[in-house]
Symmetry: C2
């Protein structure tokens, strides 16, 4: 995402756009086409045809990164990683030779949006899936994108890929994800971009009330739903892994650090140490993005040196709760 109401393409300080509005509202994704097995939207699942564009900083894009790794879709769905700092023309491929994505041949993600819809006035957000032959954006629907990787791309999954969205548990997974999305994934942004004290306080309370509820659940079971890793865990993880590095200070979600919440901290470390999770995390991109881009709440752009991420690799002890991380499947190969 661009952490705004969709103005990263217009605003050099993406992230500040939401700031100044009455209250922070996350825009719905504009391009919600789906890539499916039956090609109902005209986009068939096809190995090598699409390119996933992410920022390693972005929690919404990181969901797709984790899922791609867990399902072994690396060869079928190639990956473009943007610079963690957008400019006024959107997410940039400045980490690549000649500042150009080597597959799509473009310098800015906005070019793929323009190829899809001329003069599109909305924001340019990640995650995005781009059709390589036409260069057109297919989808930036961060909520649906991973579900489709899990349920529509099955023919391309690696052998032993886990079922991250098991049919019998979908109602429960959806319910858990809904609360986590509203209060945690998006709640931290509502806190951080609040312009009124009362808005901030409401969001803060939502964040920690939900984390407390989730923590009670996770004190009894290793994963959020069932006894295996599901999409619900992926979505909670990408927020938790950013918590102490950015949300605690930058977004003022400072009742406590994640490291001070024993159950959640152990849970988050358990996932971090599971192949496919921690190996997608780049704390440098995460911190530089939030602190340099959101000048509306951090005018100096100074990036804090702390906290020390070494703790992520310490023993978590969650094995005693049982659980089968990959169910009947297997872990992805270590990276």
């Amino acid at each position: 995402m661009d952490d705004t109401e969709g103005t990263a393409g217009e605003d050099p300080n993406a992230g500040n756009a939401a700031y100044g509005k009455k209250s922070f509202k996350r825009s719905r994704s504009h391009f919600a086409d789906r890539i499916t097995a039956d090609a109902a939207d005209g986009w068939p699942v096809e190995a090598g045809r699409y390119r996933l564009v992410v920022s390693l900083a972005c929690p919404w894009a990181s969901r797709a990164l984790v899922v791609r790794r867990l399902l072994g879709l690396e060869d079928a769905l190639s990956l473009a990683v943007t610079d963690p700092i957008q400019d006024d023309r959107s997410w940039r491929f400045t980490l690549d030779p000649d500042d150009r994505d080597p597959v799509l041949g473009i310098r800015y993600l906005s070019e793929a949006y323009d190829a899809r819809e001329t003069g599109y006035p909305g924001g340019v957000s990640v995650p995005a899936i781009v059709d390589v032959p036409s260069g057109k954006l297919v989808t930036n629907d961060f909520q649906q994108l991973t579900l489709d990787l899990e349920t529509e791309w099955t023919a391309l999954h690696r052998p032993g890929a886990p079922d991250l969205y098991p049919e019998p548990l979908r109602a429960e997974i959806d319910e858990v994800m809904e609360g986590v999305y509203r209060d945690v994934n998006n709640g931290v942004y509502r806190a951080g971009f609040a312009t009124k004290q009362s808005e901030y306080e409401d969001a803060y309370r939502d964040v920690f009330a939900r984390l407390d509820t989730v923590s009670e659940r996770l004190a009894r079971q290793r994963y959020l739903v069932g006894d295996t890793i599901t999409e619900a865990d992926v979505r909670l993880f990408t927020t938790l892994v950013r918590f102490d590095a950015v949300y605690h200070g930058h977004f003022k979600c400072n009742r406590n650090k994640l490291t001070e919440a024993p159950v959640l901290w152990a849970y988050a470390r358990d996932l971090f140490q599971t192949p496919g999770f921690g190996d997608t995390v780049d704390f440098d991109h995460i911190k530089r993005h939030y602190y340099e881009v959101h000048r509306g709440i951090n005018p100096t752009g100074i990036v804090p040196l702390g906290p020390d991420p070494a703790g992520w690799l310490t023993p978590h002890g969650r094995e005693r709760l049982g659980g089968r991380p990959f169910g009947d499947g297997t872990p992805p190969a270590a990276r």
Copy 2:
């Protein structure tokens, strides 16, 4: 202090003044007259003659608050407490009836500065001692002020008052205080008001390197110098008590929270729970001041709800290190 280079009187956003400069430098106190037993500066120690003006938010003023309590000078030296939020006319007495200090009869601390020196162009800072009969500021020299309360005001100390600046230990106390001042008391401000990444990083490293040094010392002994509470402890305490509430997030001193540093956290709680320390602390004033006043680094003025201060009252276990908190003296009466 006003956390600036002395512009609280001019700048509604005191604290922003330093911000924008090449690097943060704390101004020397302009009015450095001393109130002494022999009245060398013309200001004799005298019960009831002077008024101490503080903000409960300010770590420099809070030194004087603690020392006044420990020495039992409450009756001899009366106290005025300002609003934690300055306006463009300086520190305000808006907590008093009619927004006026009932003893000095003034609405702004700047009036006492003006009475002392017409057109004084510098900043209006706390702590300040004002001569009640003339209404004139005597001193805003935060470094000397507490030392004089300890060594010049002895005739007015309560029975059993501790010696906070014992002659045989002064060289060691001064040395410890010098490092703590440069790297910790003032170091957190250098980090928080840095406008360049390298300045911030230098300050951050100074803060934590000094805290590590101090922590090693305090692992072996209950207090910083000797086996009793001294001025050195007072000065470290007023920074530590603000660490997690403001310096960790607002000033980006986020290698770790104080609560994550076992020795320093126990030491700080030990002092907090000692009469004369914790009873001078007002977390509401502290947080509102820093977060509302420093709009240059917190443009929204939103004040974080966390962290929970309840931990300050938990057992610290420092008694096992021995030490005699008040030496041959006694604690002040509980408040």
